[in-house]
């Protein structure tokens, strides 16, 4: 594959800027995810405002060690999701997963994914899919834990 198709400017830019990185308070859930293949890691905190589907994602903060794809993906994700309600975030999350697991055959919807469509190139590379998904899986896990904590 063409390198520039993978390392699109959006990705290189996000990888450098790492929007919303650093761990912040307050948070309801903190999770730690590892990519077993390469050892890349992310610690992610989620702060919700409210409960249930209407809760708003007040903050997602993170600290990661990873390649440009995984760093950029965390950056893009936080930019996309912070400020949305849990319900509003869901279709974005689903669309990202669908694109990444589609082996390059899923045409991403820019209206939903915005900068996230830059990862369409990574979706074609088996070995990089996990990089791009790492922080998204961490968010999903954190969401479940935060909501469980609220119910408990």
């Amino acid at each position: 594959m063409d390198l520039d198709n993978l390392y699109q400017d959006i990705i290189l830019d996000h990888a450098k800027r790492r929007l919303n990185s650093g761990l912040r308070e307050p948070f309801e859930a903190e999770v730690h995810h590892v990519n077993p293949t390469c050892g890349d890691e992310v610690t992610l905190r989620l702060h919700l405002d409210g409960a249930g589907d209407d809760a708003s994602i007040a903050d997602i903060s993170y600290d990661n060690q990873g390649c440009s794809i995984s760093s950029a993906s965390a950056s893009v994700m936080t930019e996309l999701l912070i400020g949305k309600t849990v319900a509003e975030a869901r279709p974005v999350h689903d669309a990202f997963l669908e694109m990444m697991r589609g082996k390059g055959r899923v045409e991403p919807d820019e209206d939903v994914l915005e900068d996230g469509i830059a990862f369409a190139g990574a979706a074609k590379l088996t070995a990089r899919i996990k990089c791009a998904l790492l922080s998204w899986m961490a968010y999903q896990d954190a969401l479940i834990q935060a909501q469980e904590a609220q119910h408990g």
Partner: protein, 421 residues
């Protein structure tokens, strides 16, 4: 003859070894498929193509060859999952053979975890098991202080379920049995036995080594209470390569079992002091897996699906019925196991008065007819019927009625060679 695979002669052309001639120019009559099956060209070619063009280690390799190898390996898993009708492809674990798959379960049940066995617990097996479904449970029960019990067999070669209520109790933690016997040919009532075992809260481990080659398995279609928790089979008996076996296990059970082998690929993270483990299937696949073998096995189950498991079953059934008829004409021959082709698989073990199975097999071999002689890794079943060993013919999808005729004729010759009757 009804029921044979359509275009059998064309199918046979897929198997290069069937053209072999043996000593003295004899054609090969291969009737030892329950021991191991022959391989079609497409399986061999898939492995060669992998080794010549796509070989790399998997998962961990980031380059193009690595991606190709990983995709080919995981496609093997997808194909096996489809072959079994597995509820989830992640429930398919590659082992080195069926024996390792059975040991994986038995060994991990000895270690700390929700399912750990101990004194007072019972494991129930049957008298018709292959040694690979006996010895692991002996080791487990000896090592944990649990007790091993077993179903006996009827004179007709079936499981004796008359004492099922006495055998399956709240102490029963595992029930392990074969779907199809490799010695007697008996097909066991998997759904019924699984339901009974589940009623007492036991997990059910089914050895499908002889079933997978010839019966259609559709796990997802089974009622959950009748679906075993573990089903294993081995690559080399389903026209696939040696060096690979399959353990299907429910996510629930596999999630509860502690790790078996530790090492590369089965971890999440490792420090010197402790490690955490990857989710299934990787948790149970330590080290470099059988990559080329998974490619070959994928091609093998595709080949079987392409012929159709129902058509294969019909073929086996027709050949088995024909063989039972033919064997009945040989004086002094006694078949061990069910005599009704409907109720059995394609392995037929028998005795001949006055000739030891080794000597039978030797004479058959001199005529090009390859069968197995011995205890077929089922000594207890032989002991049950008062015999030390037997001769076994076993057919498969490529077997012709003419090969059965050759067997029967060679058996007659054996009798005359040893001057019987």
């Amino acid at each position: 003859m009804d029921g044979l695979l359509p275009e059998l002669e064309v199918v046979r052309k897929d198997f290069p070894i069937l053209e072999r001639t043996l000593a003295n120019g004899r054609a090969l009559v291969y009737l030892d498929s329950a021991n191991t099956s022959q391989k079609p060209q497409c399986v061999i070619d898939a492995m060669v193509d992998h080794l010549e063009h796509h070989n790399a280690n998997i998962a961990r390799a980031m380059h193009q060859l690595g991606a190709e190898a990983t995709e080919a390996f995981e496609a093997g898993r997808d194909k096996v999952a489809a072959f079994l009708g597995a509820p989830s492809r992640d429930e398919v674990i590659f082992t080195k053979n069926a024996s390792e798959a059975l040991n994986l379960v038995a060994n991990t049940l000895a270690w700390k975890g929700r399912r750990q066995l101990g004194e007072g617990d019972e494991v129930v097996i049957t008298e018709m098991e292959h040694h690979s479904n006996i010895v692991p449970w002996q080791l487990l029960t000896e090592r944990t202080g649990a007790t091993l019990r077993w179903f006996g067999l009827t004179d007709g070669g079936e499981l004796d379920l008359s004492n099922v209520d006495e055998l399956l109790t709240e102490r029963t933690k595992v029930v392990a049995f074969t779907w199809v016997s490799n010695m007697l040919g008996t097909i066991n009532p998997v759904a019924e036995l699984t339901r009974r075992a589940h009623e007492v809260g036991a997990i059910v481990v089914v050895d499908a080594s002889q079933a997978a080659p010839q019966l259609r398995i559709d796990l997802a279609a089974m009622a959950p209470e009748e679906r075993p928790d573990v089903v294993v089979f081995t690559g080399h008996k389903v026209v696939g390569p040696t060096g690979i076996g399959v353990l299907w296990g429910s996510s629930e059970l596999l999630g509860e079992l502690p790790p078996f082998l530790g090492g590369g690929e089965m971890i999440e993270t490792v420090t010197m002091a402790r490690s955490t483990y990857a989710p299934i299937p990787h948790k149970f696949e330590a080290g470099t897996p059988p990559i080329a073998e998974a490619v070959g096995l994928g091609a093998a189950v595709d080949y079987l699906s392409h012929l159709g498991l129902d058509a294969i079953r019909d073929h086996e059934h027709a050949i088995t019925a024909y063989a039972l008829d033919g064997l009945a004409t040989v004086p002094g021959l006694r078949v061990l196991g069910p005599l009704d082709a409907e109720r059995r698989g394609g392995a037929i073990s028998f005795e001949i008065d006055g000739v030891h199975p080794h000597d039978v097999a030797q004479v058959l071999d001199s005529r090009g007819v390859a069968v197995r002689a011995g205890h077929h890794c089922a000594k207890p079943a032989h002991a049950r019927y008062g015999v030390q060993s037997s001769t076994r013919m076993s057919s498969y999808l490529y077997t012709t009625p003419g090969e059965i005729d050759a067997l029967v004729e060679a058996l007659e010759y054996t009798r005359s060679y040893f001057k019987l009757g």
